[in-house]
């Protein structure tokens, strides 16, 4: 599991690659810590190469989104694949996140 966090044009771009199982989620959370800081910047999470996400990963995304909303910034999920879309459907995330 690889996690990259960049700041481009005043936006945070997070890139998630590989399988985010429960074990990996611990590291991902650590890596994405700045996103919880409440800086109010828009966030784009690139999921092009994200193959798998477990509930702990979903929790992380949810927390990021809640925090962003509270600060008035947007969160966009980019290139989410079908399998993960299915999971988003099951959990209702499909209705609360923005996708591109």
């Amino acid at each position: 599991m690889k996690t990259k966090l960049e700041e481009i044009d005043g936006k945070y771009i997070a890139t998630l690659e590989g399988e985010m199982d429960t074990a990996a989620a611990v590291e991902v959370e650590e890596a994405l810590k700045p996103l919880y800081a409440g800086e109010g910047k828009d966030i784009v999470i690139d999921c092009t190469n994200l193959e798998y996400i477990a509930s702990s990963g979903l929790r992380i995304l949810l927390c990021i989104l809640k925090d962003a909303k509270a600060n008035g910034s947007r969160v966009v999920l980019r290139n989410v694949n079908e399998d993960i879309k299915t999971v988003f459907n099951l959990t209702g995330f499909i209705n609360i996140f923005e996708f591109e």
């Binding site: 399988e19 199982d21 429960t22 074990a23 611990v26 193959e51 798998y52 477990a54 509930s55 702990s56 979903l58 929790r59 949810l62 927390c63 989104l65 809640k66 909303k69 079908e82 399998d83 299915t86 999971v87 099951l90 959990t91 209702g92 209705n95 609360i96």
Partner: protein
């Protein structure tokens, strides 16, 4: 259009009859009664009339005979005298004494004469009429009455007997010379030796005497009697309009004998009886009776009857009025009863629908139940459903029967469903049902209840019995009654402690549950069906390898033939469960043991990936199953063992080609993930909770999840159909 016209005339009447049938019957009965009384009255009037007329007739007969006799006395005297006088014709002077004798010896004769034909005795000249007359003071004067001024030859009393040669009664006339009164005269011709009529001997009768004769023995006060001659001249009685009217009518009657009704000048009805007097007279006796004399008594009877009739109408009217009220009330009650009955029918349908009628369509268990209420609705209940590979079932009996019990039955069933949604322990479920049943229960109603939870993968049956009949278990080992702790029924005390019991059902076991409507079903001899009979029937059924539905049918038939038509006294309820788990014939069967660290999850991932590839599950499905299993395992890692405690987790995956079965076992704290409340994924972001996603995904992805705690181990079984 046609209907409207028809309706107006008789429609009203028809509607009245329909709406008030009983009232109409009463009115018709009253009318019939009055009609019958009327008929009786009128026919009795007829009879009385008839009888009276007959009586009058007889009276008339007697009367005229009486008159006849009286007249006959005079006739006899004169008939005899005519012989004597005939002898005395030689001595004309003796004729004077003859007349004297006639008058003296016969008090009713007023005067008597012997009227001789002219010049019979030349010495006496043309007229010779010896005559005697009784004076008012009683003395008798005798004289010769015949003279130019008293030319008797023209008189009827002489001329007619002379002409006819027969005796003759004269029409009444006023005798001015002798009697100086109205009289009638009876004359008998006197013949000489040659048979020639030479004289007529006469006797005068006072009409007053006649009047006395006919008025003898008058019975009715208004009775008027008349005597008239054949020429309708009045002999006795007072001339009045009635007599004249009667004469008018009887002129047409040939035999002058009969009865008629005549109206007088006031219009009152008079009954007229007439008959000829006969003998030598042509007189007619007319007997006139007042209507009130004839029918006076009947009138009184009629009046009394009428009074009674009228008086009778009052109580009848009262009865009718009260009946009307009662009938209204009755029809109201009937309408109410109809309404209640129809509501009961609907309630019965609702109750029947509350019972599970679906087929479970599983190969590991077969279940069938039936409930026949004694009345429209009953107090027995049974229910079953499957959740997380466990069969939840219950059977119960609310005290009493009918509607109150049915309502409690509905409530108990709802409680059962509600409290077993998040609880697998029958004793807990029972406890909560009991609490709910005791709440607000002031009718002292209670229910016996048996709750069972059968874990289908393992055959582990947990149960709790609250005062209900112990179920029967039939297996290869034989038939036995389930060993049940005797708890109080639910709804009695809200602090009863319920304990769970458990056994393992062997493959092929049959569980038979029933209510006391079965054991206590009575036949006409008041013998009960009894547990022994139930067991015998069950043994036969099991031997015959019957399905639960068949077992129920057989048992029902047995009860019916035992009861033989006697009335069903209690609800009849039965539930049959057969446990037939199929062996899982795994093609692949691999196990992985993990330590309770999150890091171990990667091991799990590689293990699954490899296995799924081996089995040949396609990628998306693989990912999903992987996710579900990870969530389940992570749950165990997080909660099974206390912090710092090292524990192992066994993950076993099997497939028989159709299904993938994942069994996760740990020996940590008993935790049932199946009992967690489902989160609401439709909530907006602000309300979304971070927790609960794992188990939610687990439930949604897998076809079924099943949890059992056996021998200190949490066993979580996940099943997914591989299409």
């Amino acid at each position: 259009m046609k209907q409207i016209n028809e309706g107006s005339k008789w429609g009203w009447l028809k509607r009245f009859f329909k709406a008030h049938t009983s009232l109409t019957v009463i009115i018709l009965a009253v009318l019939l009664l009055e009609f019958t009384t009327g008929v009786i009255y009128y026919s009795s009037q007829d009879i009385i009339q008839h009888t009276t007329i007959q009586a009058m007739d007889r009276e008339n007969n007697a009367l005229y005979l009486c008159i006849r006799n009286k007249l006959a006395e005079v006739e006899v005297v004169l008939d005899n005298m005519s012989w004597i006088v005939s002898d005395d014709m030689i001595h004309p002077d003796s004729l004077f004494s003859a007349t004297y004798q006639i008058v003296e010896n016969n008090p009713m004769i007023l005067g008597s004469c012997v009227a001789c034909i002219p010049h019979l005795f030349p010495e006496h000249g043309y007229w010779f009429e010896p005559y005697s007359i009784r004076r008012p003071d009683g003395t008798i004067d005798t004289m010769q009455l015949g003279s130019a001024s008293h030319d008797y030859t023209k008189a009827e009393f002489f001329a007619v007997p002379l002409a006819t040669g027969k005796s003759h009664w004269c029409e009444p006339y006023l005798e001015n010379d002798g009697a100086k009164a109205f009289i009638t005269t009876y004359g008998v011709p006197v013949r000489n030796g040659k048979g020639e009529i030479v004289a007529v001997v006469d006797a005068d009768l006072s009409l007053d005497w006649l009047k006395d004769v006919i008025n003898e023995d008058i019975a009715y006060p208004s009775n008027q009697r008349f005597l008239i001659t054949g020429r309708y001249n009045l002999l006795a009685g007072e001339d009045n309009q009635v007599l004249r009217a009667s004469i008018e009518q009887l002129k047409d009657d040939a035999d002058k004998k009969g009865y008629m009704i005549v109206k007088d000048e006031n219009g009152s009805k008079k009954h007229v009886f007439y008959t000829p007097v006969g003998g030598k007279t042509d007189w007619i006796l007319v007997n006139v009776l007042d209507d009130s004399d004839v029918f006076g008594k009947l009138r009184r009877v009629r009046r009394n009857l009428l009074l009674v009739l009228m008086a009778g109408l009052l109580p009848i009217g009262f009865i009718v009025w009260r009946s009307k009220r009662n009938l209204e009330r009755l029809s109201q009650v009937n309408a109410e009863k109809e309404r209640i009955n129809s509501e009961l029918r609907v309630a019965s349908q609702i109750q029947q629908r509350m019972l599970p009628h679906f087929c479970l369509q599983r190969d590991d268990v077969d279940i069938f139940g039936s409930l026949v209420p004694a009345r429209e609705v009953g107090g027995d209940l049974f229910d079953y459903f499957i959740r997380d590979e466990k069969l939840f079932f219950c059977i119960g009996d609310v005290s009493g029967k009918g509607t109150p019990s049915a309502m409690l039955m509905a409530g108990t069933r709802s409680f059962f469903r509600a409290f077993s949604a998040h609880d697998n322990n029958p004793a807990h479920i029972m406890h909560r049902i009991n609490e709910a049943a005791c709440l607000g229960n002031d009718t002292n109603m209670f229910a016996t209840l048996f709750i069972g939870v059968l874990d289908l993968p393992s055959g582990h049956l947990r149960y709790c019995d609250a005062g209900h009949d112990k179920p029967v278990v039939v297996s290869d080992a034989g038939l036995q009654t389930l060993n049940c702790n005797p708890h109080l029924p639910v709804g009695v005390f809200n602090d009863v402690k319920y304990n769970v019991q458990d056994i393992f059902l062997a493959t092929g076991s049959t569980l038979f549950l029933y209510t006391d409507g079965l054991t206590e079903a009575m036949n006409a001899n008041r013998k009960q069906f009894g547990l022994q009979r139930i067991e015998d029937v069950l043994r036969n059924c099991i031997e015959g390898q019957l399905t639960p539905k068949d077992i129920l049918d057989v048992m029902t038939k047995e009860v019916h033939s035992f009861v033989k038509g006697a009335e069903q006294s209690d609800d009849l309820t039965m539930l049959v469960i057969r446990y037939t788990p199929k062996e899982f014939k795994s093609i692949h069967d691999e196990t992985l043991v993990l330590k309770n660290h999150v890091a171990e999850v990667s091991k799990l991932s590689s293990f699954q990936k490899a296995l799924f590839e081996k089995i040949g599950i396609e990628k998306s499905l693989s990912r999903q199953i992987q996710l579900a299993v990870e969530e389940a395992v992570v749950n165990v890692i997080d909660y099974a063992y206390s912090a710092g405690v090292e524990g192992s987790i066994e993950v076993r995956m099997m497939t028989d080609g159709q299904y993938l079965r994942v069994v996760i076992v740990d020996s940590g704290v008993p935790f049932d993930p199946t009992l967690k409340n489902e989160i609401d994924v439709s909530l907006p972001l602000e309300e979304r909770q971070v927790g609960g996603l794992g188990i939610y995904l687990l439930r949604k992805i897998m076809d079924s999840i099943n949890y059992e705690y056996i021998d200190g181990h949490n066993i979580l079984t996940l099943i997914k159909k591989l299409s």
